[in-house]
């Protein structure tokens, strides 16, 4: 394909030809590396951050199951500490941990652990603020109906905050995408590394700009998809008049089934 592009634009500059050839050959893999490392890190960050965020809300003094105040204070300090260390520094600090868990500190696998560690407290705060947005009256109603704490979390807090949680997920994904690009500077893979190492350092402007433009496009796509999904699952406002067709209704019920959380306890 590189030949085709070169001949189509009748580019004669040999440096340009080299860059375009390189781009066409490497960019699909760089995109893939960026996407999968971002996705895995986002999921891992939620695996830690989601329960932590829930705990920060439910365990607070005004929460459904207040935990001892000192414990909550320690938790808050840890989250704040991790969030206040600049990502580049944190990444270097976490390298030993990465070696223990994944056996490597370089390449795309090498940045998964630092990304997760850096993003988890951020995700925890996002989840916390999403859950706090919720109307307290709903929790009170659930308590009055005899819900256990676990049922309140599973059946009230999470489903009712789903639109907001999806927005948070999008924000986290995009932030981690940015972190991942930064990780290119210390030996990660993906588009960030391509822009830094092959673009900037080797003065290949076409490579640099292309990598950046692709990153921008990716962010746009994920933000749109995230916002759209968040609005789509939200039953509170902007209810579109639902078509009465059976197919549409089936879709609806299937989606509902998919969304309803497993039985608590």
């Amino acid at each position: 394909m590189a030949d085709w592009i070169v001949s189509f634009f009748s580019i004669a500059d040999p440096k340009m030809v080299k860059q375009i050839t390189y781009l066409v050959n490497s960019i699909p893999y760089a995109i893939w590396e960026t996407l999968y490392s971002t996705l895995i890190a986002t999921l891992m960050a939620h695996l830690i951050g989601l329960p932590l965020g829930i705990l920060l809300v439910t365990g607070a003094q005004d929460g459904v199951r207040p935990l001892p105040r000192p414990l909550m204070q320690v938790l808050n300090v840890v989250v704040n500490l991790l969030r206040s260390v600049p990502f580049l520094i944190l990444m270097v600090m976490v390298m030993p941990l990465s070696r223990i868990i994944l056996g490597t500190t370089i390449g795309t696998p090498g940045i998964l652990v630092p990304l997760t560690v850096a993003a988890a407290p951020f995700v925890a705060r996002l989840v916390e603020s999403s859950l706090r947005e919720m109307d307290r009256g709903l929790i009170e109603a659930a308590q009055a109906m005899g819900c256990s704490t676990l049922q309140i979390v599973w059946k009230v807090m999470l489903p009712e905050s789903l639109p907001s949680l999806l927005s948070s997920f999008t924000t986290a994904f995009i932030t981690i995408l940015g972190y991942g690009a930064m990780a290119g500077a210390i030996g990660g893979g993906g588009l960030g590394a391509m822009a830094m190492m092959d673009g900037w350092t080797q003065r290949q402007k076409a490579v640099l700009y292309t990598a950046v433009v692709v990153l921008v496009i990716l962010v746009q796509i994920f933000q749109s998809v995230g916002s759209h999904l968040s609005a789509r699952v939200d039953k509170r406002v902007g209810q579109k008049v639902r078509k009465a067709s059976a197919g549409d209704r089936n879709k609806q019920t299937q989606k509902d089934k998919g969304m309803s959380p497993p039985d608590a306890m």
Partner: protein, 334 residues
Amino acid sequence: MIELKNVSKVFPTAEGQLRALADVSLTIGDGEVYGIVGMSGAGKSTLVRCINLLERPTSGQVVIDGADLCAMSRKELIAQRRSISMIFQQFNLLMQRTCLKNICFPMEIARVKRPEAEKRARELLEVVGLPDKADAYPAQLSGGQKQRIAIARALASDPKILLCDEATSALDPKTTRDILRLVKDINRRLGITVVVITHEMAVVEEICTHVAILDHGRVMETGTVEQVFSNPQTEAGRRLVYPDGVRIDELPTANVIRIAFNGGSSYEPLIASLAIDCGVKVNILGADTRNVNGQAFGTMLLGLPGDRLEAEKAITYIKNQPNVTMEEVRDYHG
């Protein structure tokens, strides 16, 4: 039977301790519709939340059918709460669930099988008169419809007690009456004890059998609605029954009627036309009326002239007015 024994609740605040309830004792019999009235800030909401221990009293006992809730373990309390339902001013429906799923919710947490729960939920939708709203989301409903769904949800766990926390305060007068009628009907048909928290005396008048007047965290008086309304014993009671501050000993002793406006033309022409058409002058002793878009709602106390013939003329005239109901107030002076 619900017994509150010397219940006190103190909230710590920045300015020191706030005593929301002070030594409240109440007995609410089975099947009663018990109104708890008071001005805002009187502690009504705190009091009703003590009945299902959403608020834990600082001291005192909450005894339901002989069992002290304060002494229960977390598990026992959860089980007990499933027999006490609650509806709220803000409805508190789950916005991401359909109405049917909202009604299923209490059964879901009590692990009732889904088909069984849905069948019961559909029955309850019939009871509250919204059988076609099963698949609608709460955001698509009006306030009155939301409260109906909330009532259906409250009934889903077959409760013994229904707590209504300002359940009609966010609704318009007509919807309020409809909802109150539904609650009354449920009380009659299912024998559920209802506790109604409200600041509106009209609500108490409409459905309650008994009433307690709460002021500054204290129960000022209790009794049947007739007793308390016709003859409030305390200053707080009089303030609520006659909000415009009529001094009871300044009122005439006989021929007092209470008329209620149910949304006709404004009340001033009625009194004026009474004077013009019948030549009868009446004395407005007290009024609690609101003019909503040119329509009058509320009640008014009128003192009729001592002359019997003239009084009867006035009564006949008022009786013939559309949108006005009238009753004589006996023993007005006590």
